[in-house]
C-alpha cells in the first residue's frame, strides 16, 4: 500500500458486487480495493464488461436490482457509504460527490430543460431564491464553456459535447470533493473528446476535486490520469502511477494491453494482442482469472487466486510478483 500522510478521500475495501440472475449470482466486482486521494485523477481502464461501471455505481450507491453489494466497505471522508440508508445518502449526494455518466443524452431528462434540471439539484439540497439559482446556474454554464442561454434549452437541442459539458456543470454545482465519471467521452468523436478532456482537467486543477475516471480507452487515460487501475474480469489486476504503468507494465494482462494498440507515431511494429477472449463473468475460470490467456501461466495460477503484491510503487495481482 502506498502510505500517505493524510487519509484518502475515498477508500474501497474488498468490495464485491453481484448480479442476481436466473442462473445464479454473477460477481461483476470481485474483492476490489481502491483508494482515491484528494484532488487526484484516478483512471480505471479495462475491457468492456469487466465491471467498471458496476464498480462506479457501487461506490456511488446507485446500484439497482438485480445488482447488489455483496460485501466490502466504502469509506468516504470517514463515513461508511455501504451502511447508509437511502435518505441518509440523499444529503450526502451531489454535495460531497457527484456523477457524470457515459452518454449525457441518456443521463439528462429529455423533457426538462437544462436549467430546470440544475434547479432540481439546487432545490434538493439548498434553499436558494429563484434569482440565486439562476445566477449560480449561469455561472456554472460559463465555467464549463457554454453560453448560459442554453439553460433554457432541452437536451436534444444541444450537441453531444455540449451535453457532456452541461452534465459536468451540473456535477460541479456544489463543488464536491469527488466527481465520478463513467466514460464521459466515449460517445464523442476524437476531436470533441480531446476538447472535453482538456476542460475536465482544467476544471479539476481549478476546483481541486478528485476524479475517478472510467474508460476502456488506454490511450485516453495515459495523458490525463495521475494514477491508473487496470481491471480484468471484475478484479483490479494492477494499480499504480499512470506513467509507471505505461512505462513498465507488470501484470501480463497489462503487458498484453500495451501490445494491443497501434500508434500513429514511431516505427510500425507487428502487434500480437492477447489471444483468447475475456471470460464470462457468470462462469469465471478458477484460480487467476487471466490464466487461460496468460503467456506466463504456472500450475498454481489454475487453482489459487493471486493476491495483491507490491512491486515498486505499483500493486499487482499476479503470482509472478509473489516474492
Amino acid at each position: 500500500m502506498i502510505a500517505t500522510a493524510t487519509r484518502p478521500l475515498l477508500e474501497v475495501k474488498d468490495l464485491c458486487v453481484d448480479y442476481l440472475t436466473d442462473r445464479g449470482a454473477v460477481r461483476a466486482v470481485d474483492h476490489v480495493s481502491l483508494e482515491v486521494r484528494k484532488g487526484e485523477f484516478l483512471g480505471i481502464v479495462g475491457e468492456s464488461g469487466c465491471g467498471k461501471s458496476t464498480l462506479l455505481f457501487a461506490i456511488a450507491r446507485l446500484l439497482t436490482p438485480p445488482a447488489e453489494i455483496a460485501s466490502g466497505d466504502i469509506w468516504f471522508e470517514g463515513n461508511d457509504l455501504v451502511s447508509m440508508t437511502e435518505s441518509e445518502l440523499r444529503h450526502f449526494r451531489w454535495k460531497q460527490y457527484s456523477v457524470v455518466m457515459q452518454s449525457a443524452m441518456n443521463a439528462l431528462n429529455p423533457v426538462m430543460s437544462i436549467g430546470e434540471q440544475l434547479r432540481d439539484a439546487f432545490d434538493a439540497h439548498q434553499h436558494l431564491t429563484g434569482r440565486q439559482v439562476e445566477k449560480r446556474s449561469e455561472e456554472l454554464m460559463r465555467i464549463v464553456g457554454i453560453d448560459p442561454v442554453h439553460l433554457r434549452s432541452y437536451p436534444h437541442q444541444l450537441s453531444g459535447g455540449m451535453r457532456q459539458r452541461a452534465m459536468i456543470a451540473m456535477a460541479l454545482a456544489f463543488t464536491p470533493e469527488l466527481v465520478i465519471m463513467d466514460e464521459p467521452t466515449s460517445a464523442l468523436d476524437v476531436v470533441a473528446q480531446r476538447s472535453l478532456m482538456l476542460k475536465i482537467k482544467q476544471l479539476q486543477r481549478e476546483f481541486g476535486f478528485a476524479t475517478i475516471f472510467v474508460t476502456h480507452d488506454m490511450s485516453l487515460v495515459s495523458h490525463f490520469s495521475d494514477r491508473l487501475a487496470v481491471m480484468y474480469a471484475g478484479q483490479v489486476v494492477e494499480v499504480g502511477e499512470t506513467r509507471q504503468v505505461f512505462a513498465d507494465p507488470k501484470h501480463p494482462y497489462t503487458v498484453g494491453l500495451m501490445r494491443s494498440f497501434p500508434s500513429i507515431t514511431g516505427a510500425l511494429q507487428p502487434l500480437s494482442g492477447i489471444p483468447g477472449s475475456p471470460p464470462d463473468l457468470a462462469r469465471p475460470p478458477a484460480g487467476c482469472r487471466f490464466h487461460p490467456r496468460c503467456p506466463h501461466v504456472m500450475p498454481r495460477c489454475k487453482v489459487e487466486e493471486p493476491d495483491f503484491y507490491a512491486r515498486e510503487a505499483d500493486l499487482v495481482r499476479c503470482f509472478l510478483f509473489d516474492a
Binding site: R90, R93, Q102, A107, V111, S113
Partner: protein, 327 residues
C-alpha cells in the same frame, strides 16, 4: 412543428376515410330502410303506407352515386345529417344530441378514471418493484381485463342492483326527474352511473396498469433516473418528474386511440344497464338500416376518438420538447 403537422395530416385523412367508408358501407348493405321500418312498426303498417313513406324519404332517388357522395359530404360538413328512419321524423342531429352527453359522460369519465388510476397504480407498482403490491396487482387486473364487459356488468347488476338494491336498475338519472342543474340531480347521475362506470373501470384499468408499469420499468432503468438519484432528489420527485413523466408520454396517444375500444364496449354496457347513450342507438340504427343515423353515429364516435388522439398529440407535444421540433 412538423410533428403536429403530421398528426393533423393523419387526423384529416382518417376523417375523410371514415366519411367515405360511412358513405359506402350502408349503400352496399342489402335491404332498404322502408322495409326496415316495418320492423320498427312491429309490422303493423300496411304496404301502401310503406310505399308512401319510401317516397317521402326520397329513397328512390336516381342521382348518380358520385352526386350522392358530394351531396353527402356537403351535408355532413354543414351539419345536416338528414332524418333518422328509426326515429322518423326526428333529425339525426337531435337523436344524437339526446344520447351524446350520457355516453360521453359515462365513457369519458370512466375511461379517464381508469387511465388515471391505472397509470398511478402502474407507476407505484413499478416503483415498488417486486413488492407484494407489484406481485399481485398487475396479474390480477390483467386477468380481470380479459373478462367480457357485458358479463361483468350483468353480474354487478344482479348483485348490487337486483339483490342488494344498492344501485338503480338502469337509466341515467331518476326516471321521473328532468335534467336540471342541482346537487341532488348530480347525485342521481353519479348514483346511476356508478355501476356501469365501475364495469368499465374495472375491466380497463388492468391494461393501463400493465402498460404504465412496463414503460415505467424501462424508464426507471434509464440513466437520467439514476442521475436523479445521484443528485439526491426526493423519491417522489424522481418518481413523478423523472420516471413518471417520461413513462407516460408514449402512453398518451395510445390512450386516446384506445378510446375507440372503450366506446365499443360501452355499447354493451349501455344495453346491460339500460343507459340512455349512443351505443344502443347505434345498434338500433344498424338493425333498422338507418343510413343517416348510422353514418352520423359512426362519424361522431370516430370523431370523438380522433379529437382525443389529437388532444393527446398536442399534450404530448407540450410535455415532450423533442416532438416539437423533429419528426
Amino acid at each position: 412543428m412538423s410533428y403536429l403537422v403530421r398528426r393533423l395530416e393523419f387526423f384529416f385523412i382518417t376523417l375523410w376515410a371514415t366519411l367515405t367508408m360511412n358513405f359506402i358501407l350502408p349503400r352496399i348493405m342489402p335491404g332498404n330502410p322502408a322495409e326496415a321500418m316495418l320492423v320498427r312498426y312491429h309490422g303493423r303498417v300496411s304496404p301502401q303506407t310503406i310505399k308512401a313513406i319510401e317516397v317521402a324519404f326520397g329513397l328512390n332517388s336516381n342521382e348518380s352515386i358520385f352526386q350522392q357522395y358530394l351531396e353527402y359530404l356537403r351535408n355532413t360538413v354543414t351539419g345536416n345529417f338528414g332524418t333518422s328512419v328509426t326515429f322518423f321524423p326526428v333529425p339525426v342531429g337531435d337523436v344524437i344530441k339526446q344520447g351524446l352527453p350520457w355516453t360521453l359522460g359515462l365513457v369519458g369519465m370512466a375511461t379517464i378514471i381508469a387511465f388515471a388510476l391505472g397509470t398511478l397504480l402502474g407507476m407505484l407498482s413499478a416503483w415498488r418493484r417486486g413488492g407484494i403490491f407489484d406481485a399481485i396487482l398487475p396479474p390480477v387486473f390483467i386477468v380481470i381485463s380479459a373478462f367480457p364487459y357485458f358479463w361483468l356488468g350483468l353480474l354487478f347488476l344482479l348483485a348490487f342492483a337486483l339483490t342488494l338494491g344498492w344501485f338503480p336498475l338502469g337509466f341515467a338519472y331518476d326516471l321521473t326527474d328532468s335534467i336540471n342543474l342541482s346537487w341532488s340531480f348530480a347525485g342521481q347521475v353519479l348514483w346511476h352511473g356508478f355501476l356501469p362506470a365501475l364495469t368499465i373501470v374495472i375491466t380497463s384499468v388492468g391494461g393501463w396498469i400493465l402498460t404504465m408499469r412496463n414503460t415505467m420499468i424501462t424508464t426507471l432503468a434509464e440513466d437520467y433516473v439514476k442521475m436523479a438519484r445521484a443528485k439526491g432528489l426526493s423519491p417522489v420527485r424522481i418518481m413523478l418528474m423523472y420516471a413518471g413523466r417520461n413513462a407516460i408520454l408514449p402512453n398518451l396517444t395510445g390512450f386516446a386511440m384506445s378510446l375507440g375500444f372503450v366506446i365499443s364496449g360501452a355499447i354493451l354496457v349501455e344495453i346491460v344497464f339500460n343507459y340512455p347513450g349512443l351505443g344502443f342507438t347505434l345498434l338500433q340504427a344498424v338493425h333498422s338500416e338507418d343510413y343517416a343515423l348510422m353514418q352520423t353515429l359512426f362519424l361522431m364516435i370516430t370523431l370523438a376518438v380522433l379529437l382525443a388522439v389529437l388532444a393527446a398529440d398536442v399534450l404530448t407535444a407540450i410535455l415532450d420538447p423533442r416532438t416539437r421540433e423533429q419528426g
